[in-house]
């Protein structure tokens, strides 16, 4: 049987992110163990895993915030380990924490960050208003960021990330704290980024409705190891053949391991693409 980690690598799609045997240790603790990710261009890739599996560390390495202990990371053709400066400001990143300067207006919070990334102010303003209108928050533009609710702050962060992004957007828990209606709208916007603008989204989430609606590919991390990488259908086939996506994810988190393999071919893993 062929090693599973090599199967995704064999597909013919152009990869926007590729890692090879990525390892990361903090002192004696190894948090990533030979992680080899393959994120195809123009896809929505869901990086999943229980708490402490290494998702945030992986995202930080991919975005040049942190250096790996060993391994290779190629993002948009840039060797991130050797040239982390080159990848910074090229990727739109939404971190877990809702970040923003409390004492300045929401409008300025978005435009200051987009200007640092190099987005034209007029373009950023236009896009900002359009997205906030869709997310029913245009009336909050002149409120100080500190006055917004948790969910509203999350929306502002999402909008800022979308405007700042180039080809690749990394979203860590994008819809956490959003009400159902806004979460749905946010998912639609993310989907459109891929379908209409050809962008790639790497996202991490614990909300299965996000993943079910959006994810094209799924990578599952557990205890620092990438135990699975494949399509949504392949996840179900692998971890809950008689169940649904949510059950498959729960099974993967609880019982999955690198050696738990039943799918044997690239076609199996890419089923449903």
């Amino acid at each position: 049987m062929k090693a599973k980690k090599g199967l995704m690598a064999e597909m013919n799609e152009e990869l926007i992110i590729e890692t090879k045997d990525l390892c990361k240790s903090f002192g004696q603790k190894q948090v990533l163990k030979n992680v080899s990710l393959h994120v195809p261009k123009g896809s929505i890739y869901a990086l999943l895993g229980p708490n402490g599996a290494g998702k945030t560390t992986t995202i930080r390495i991919l975005t040049g915030i942190m250096k790996p202990t060993s391994g290779e990371v190629i993002v948009q053709g840039i060797n991130v380990v050797e040239n982390p400066e080159d990848i910074r400001a090229e990727i739109g990143i939404l971190s877990q924490m809702s970040a923003g300067y409390k004492d300045i207006k929401t409008r300025d919070n978005i435009l200051l960050f987009t200007s640092i990334v190099g987005v034209d102010k007029a373009l950023a303003s236009e896009k900002m208003v359009e997205l906030l209108e869709r997310l029913e928050m245009a009336d909050k533009l002149d409120l100080n960021f500190g006055k917004l609710s948790g969910g509203e702050k999350r929306v502002v962060n999402l909008v800022r990330t979308i405007i700042s992004s180039g080809e690749l957007i990394v979203l860590d828990e994008p819809t956490t704290g959003l009400d159902i209606a806004r979460a749905k709208k946010a998912r639609d916007i993310i989907q459109e980024l891929v379908v209409n603008e050809g962008k790639t989204v790497l996202m991490s989430s614990h909300i299965t409705s996000d993943l079910e609606d959006l994810a094209t590919y799924t990578g599952i991390l557990k205890e620092g190891e990438l135990i699975f990488e494949g399509t949504k259908k392949a996840v179900i086939k692998q971890f809950a053949p008689d169940g649904n996506f949510e059950m498959a994810i729960i099974n993967a988190f609880e019982n999955g391991s690198k050696n738990f393999q039943s799918l044997e071919t690239t076609e199996d893993l890419l089923e449903g693409t």
Partner: protein
């Protein structure tokens, strides 16, 4: 490279925007202004309520003086002055004249005046000399009352002389007051007495500004980014992370400059109010307190040197706070950064307050003292090798901290601090 430069400008714009929020404007401009206004102005507005004791010894033996009409009088100018002082004191609730028998008792007391044995004869020989010892602060009631007494002495001497000599005011002799400083506390100063007048205002200004800068650092430094959760975002979108340090440093310097200017503006306006209320500022009679630095003096050579010295000290402080911010967690940085800076500020100010013209071991290892020493020497035009050494040490410390902050912000550990 162009993209990095463009990004630096955007980061700088962002940091400037953060400075000019209402909260920061209050901390950097309004608070120093009100603080100085309160420290300098309020004491002069609320001068009543405490007593001033002026100790006088009149050793004047008097003498005979012939009036212009031919009559011969025996007069004692010292005694006349004392009568007038007592008359004045009787009209005022909070001023008391205590007469003592010896020069030592008068001049060792707080606010003492001594008239020598030949005061009358010297007055009519055109050489009036008396001694005084003033310890009261210039902005206190005691200081103000004491100076009123000095003016009274001059008035009595002048009027006595005019009465006997029938001459115009233009021809009357000048009285020479000699300020007495007890030998035990007389300092051997490095700088001239004129420059020494800058010492206390410099020390006070620096300490007060240091106590404000802790809050300012928290508002515009990396602590604020950490508190708002924007630190990781900034790290992920900034191509050259050193730009984050440089930008904060530039903005910190601008904010510090505004703080210094508002500090002195507060002082100057309070001084103007003092002048309106009391009729004169301490500067008018050559005092050495806060009011000896009115705003106009800041435009002089010494004033500019003083401001640059204060600016350098504040840049050093901002940089120290930023370096600590990048090396430690927000909580640890707040617990370590500000208290350590205040400790250095206190260890600088207290010895300087006791004796502004001397140095000791505690002072020579304090960077604020290095800057103070260099500023005073440049102001005094007495720059020596030790000033050169202090200047080099200050610049090396600045460079080391820039380097440490730059290195720290490039390390991934910064994410977890």
């Amino acid at each position: 490279m162009t993209k990095k430069r463009k990004q630096f400008r955007a980061i700088l714009r962002k940091d400037l925007k953060l400075v000019f929020t209402w909260k920061t404007i209050i901390l950097t401009i309004v608070v120093p202004f009100i603080m100085m206004f309160a420290i300098v102005g309020i004491p002069t507005l609320f001068v009543s309520g405490s007593n001033t004791v002026i100790t006088v010894c009149n050793a004047d033996e008097g003498g005979t003086v012939t009036h212009v009409n031919g009559s011969v009088y025996f007069i004692n100018v010292g005694q006349n002055v004392l009568y007038n002082m007592q008359y004045y004191a009787n009209q005022e609730d909070n001023i008391k004249i205590e007469v003592v028998s010896t020069r030592a008792k008068a001049l060792n007391a707080s606010n003492g005046i001594y008239f020598p044995t030949n005061f009358t004869t010297a007055t009519f020989a055109g050489e009036s000399v008396f001694e005084y010892h003033k310890t009261a602060s210039d902005v206190s009631l005691q200081g103000y009352n004491f100076d009123t007494m000095l003016n009274l002495i001059q008035e009595v001497v002048f009027s006595t002389y005019l009465f006997f000599r029938n001459i115009t005011e233009d021809n009357i002799p000048q009285v020479e007051p000699i300020q007495y400083i007890p030998p035990a506390t007389e300092p051997s100063t490095i700088w001239s007495q004129e420059t020494m007048k800058l010492a206390m205002p410099f020390a006070y200004a620096l300490f007060i500004l240091l106590s404000l800068i802790g809050n300012m650092g928290r508002t515009i430094g990396f602590s604020k980014e950490k508190e708002d959760g924007t630190f990781e975002t900034m790290l992920s979108i900034t191509k050259n992370r050193s730009n984050l340090v440089y930008s904060k440093l530039i903005v910190g310097t601008i904010a510090s400059t505004l703080t210094i200017l508002s500090y002195f503006a507060g002082s100057a306006i309070a001084g103007a109010i003092s002048k309106a209320v009391l009729g004169q500022t301490a500067d008018d009679y050559g005092a050495t307190g806060f009011l000896s630095l009115p705003f106009r003096d800041l435009l002089s050579y010494k004033g500019v040197v003083l401001l640059i010295g204060l600016g350098l000290a504040l840049v050093l402080t901002m940089l120290a706070l930023m370096t600590v911010d990048t090396l430690f967690t927000k909580t640890v940085a707040e617990r370590i950064g500000v208290p350590v800076i205040l400790m250095f500020g206190l260890l600088f100010m207290l010895p300087v307050m006791i004796n502004p013209g001397q140095s000791n071991f505690i002072l020579v290892i304090n960077p604020y003292y290095w800057i103070y020493h260099v500023s005073m020497s440049i102001a005094d035009l007495t720059f020596t090798w030790i000033d050169g050494l202090y200047l080099v040490l200050s610049l090396v410390l600045l460079a080391l901290m820039v380097l440490a902050a730059r290195k720290a912000i490039e390390r991934e550990k910064v994410l977890f601090t």
